[in-house]
């Protein structure tokens, strides 16, 4: 009975998209990309279910970029999780300070004792990198989780209200989405810096700031996904059985809307890691300068950049490779789920 099914929700959301508040070009482009991703949950509703993930997984396995990404991430996670138990020295140990002379531009490079050499405070860089990986992973995951949680709360509520809530629902959705658009239109770093400025600089603050930056992305995405689902025939069928609207929204539409959100979470981990490092680099992260954090290490390296550029290179490469790993895997997942991008 698809020919008789009202498609008004989709049309309305297009109309609302073009109207709405003025957004920056950047914000608009972000929204467009998210909307495409959101639509994915409604595509191929026929073959949805477990088989969808299995199929996507198969496709991902044959994608070399995805394999590279997965291998990078596997190594990174392994290092971050068990590495800190096996590091040769404490990352804060300044025992070898007498080998360093900043005044005479001497910082010992890689050696058998110190695989990546020492830093300007006479600490073992290898140990700092490994423990820093753990911190980076932690910040990335916690920040993404914060973004996911609040984003899904906002987006799930909005999408459910818009899709099933009638006039009052649309009004609620409108209010929530204007708030989300505001967040989305703000440049990420600016927003994060403002949040750190309000709270005190610390690793937790960095997590919150980076998480808040990700909130509108997830909110938009899940909302779009839920609205697309609200047109699905199984929603009409459940309604015809008298199932309550909250149950339809959160028991039926939500599980069907999650695929794009999971893809986006993978991509967000990459940006979260970069943003967190950026904040630490600007000195907005942990106030303890001895803390082994890749962004902080990058900042430290600036002081000695002229004669020991390798100290900047290590954390920079760490950040880039990790972010690359998440991006490669995330994009491959997105492609695998998007029938338009297949082949």
């Amino acid at each position: 009975m698809s020919e008789g099914l009202p498609r008004e929700n989709q049309q309305a959301s297009t109309a609302e998209r073009s109207g709405g508040m003025a957004l920056t070009q950047l914000g608009k482009r972000k929204i467009e990309k998210l909307e495409r991703l959101a639509e994915l949950s409604a595509i191929n509703a026929g073959e949805r279910g477990e088989s969808l993930w299995r199929e996507a997984f198969k496709r991902v396995r044959h994608n070399p970029a995805a394999i590279v990404g997965a291998v990078i991430l596997a190594i990174f996670v392994l290092v971050a999780v068990i590495g800190p138990f096996f590091v040769p020295y404490s990352p804060k140990d300044t025992r070898w300070i007498d080998q360093v002379s900043v005044a005479r531009n001497i910082i010992p490079g890689p050696s058998a004792d110190h695989w990546l050499g020492l830093d300007h405070n006479g600490r073992d860089v290898f140990s700092r990198m490994v423990v820093g990986a753990q911190k980076t992973l932690l910040v990335g995951i916690v920040a993404t989780a914060i973004g996911l949680f609040f984003g899904c709360l906002l987006g799930g509520l909005s999408g459910a209200a818009y899709g099933l809530g009638g006039k009052a629902g649309r009004r609620l959705d409108n209010v929530l989405m204007r708030f989300v658009d505001m967040l989305l239109a703000m440049p990420a770093l600016l927003l994060a810096v403002s949040i750190v400025a309000i709270l005190r600089p610390s690793l937790v603050t960095v997590m919150i700031a980076v998480g808040v930056v990700a909130v509108p992305t997830f909110a938009r995405l899940l909302r779009g996904s839920m609205i697309a689902q609200s047109n699905a025939e199984y929603v009409v069928a459940s309604t015809s059985l008298g199932v309550s609207r909250p149950r339809i929204a959160f028991g039926h539409m939500l599980p069907n809307s999650l695929a794009p959100v999971i893809v986006q979470a993978t991509l967000t981990l990459a940006t979260a890691i970069i943003e967190a490092a950026g904040l630490s680099f600007l000195g907005l992260g942990t106030p303890d300068p001895s803390e082994p954090e890749w962004g902080t290490m990058l900042n430290d390296a600036l002081q000695t950049f002229e004669y020991a550029p390798r100290l900047a290179l290590f954390p920079a490469v760490g950040i880039i490779i990790t972010a690359l790993g998440f991006t490669l895997l995330g994009e491959a997942l997105r492609e695998a789920l998007d029938p338009k991008l297949r082949k």
Binding site: M1, S2, R48, S51, V236, T239, L241, G242, P255, N256
Partner: protein
Amino acid sequence: MTLLDVQDLSVMFTQRGREDVRAVDGVSFDVSAGEVVGLVGESGCGKSVTSLALMGLLPEKGVKVSGRADFDGTNLLGVDQRTMRDLRGRELGMIFQDPLSSLNPVVAIGKQVTEVLARHRGLSGDAAAKEAEHLLDRVGIPDPRRRLKEYPHQLSGGMRQRALIAMAVACRPRLLIADEPTTALDVTIQAQILELLKELVHQDGTALIMITHDLGVVAGLCDRINVLYAGRVVESAARRPLFAEPTHPYTRGLLGSIPRLDSVRGEPLNPIPGSVRDLLPWVEGCAFAPRCERVIEACVEAPPALIGGSHQYRCVNPVLGRSAGPEHLLEQE
């Protein structure tokens, strides 16, 4: 005793920047308990919209519904959504055309069945699981305990439709609406599903509105048949007289396009010429006139009225007398 009395049901879609679409235009019919009433017509004639209107499933925005649909004293078109939600699933059940997309792909069959039981019969836990198993068994799904744990894509098309039927009849609704329940299924499965529906409504004394584009489907099932064209009833009669003496040229055309077992091989079927899109607005005359072989001057002068007693037709130049046609369909019973 009349269970549902539909009077002058009209549904209009209004959309800014587009002409209004009158999908259903003054349809009246009634259904008694234990009775099977058919709504028949080509795709696009307003069958699904009629059923969605009765179930209160049309969106509020951009849709105007008028008329009455008295269900045991309650006007289904007049009550608020809250009352409707209580009626749906408990008093009114609906079965859709495409069983695959009507089931949630990521929720196990069992959960989808027990949800209805929890909502209307207050069953939960083991009691609900047991009842769900019993329901699947009742609609002829083998090994129901295992099926409850499976997902829609693991079931065959026929099994999926059976599962949906199980949900629709879980609370023994007094009225069941089946919107082309067999169209998406293989021919061999179609007969089984029809047989199941027949059995269920017979056992429970449920009233059934059977919607289809295929007169062959209703032949063995319906007590009364309403033929729809462009949103209006063009012929309404009990099954026997309808098949024996189809009066409206459109009904004749529909019957003529059903393949016959005893027809000479190679003899072409007689499909109705043209398509539903070649229509005249009802206000100007008979909407079927552009496609009708028997069209006369009077057809396009004024909208024809529905005339006749127990066998009604909306035609100024009807075919009277017995048809040489497809009475053999009745023998399927």
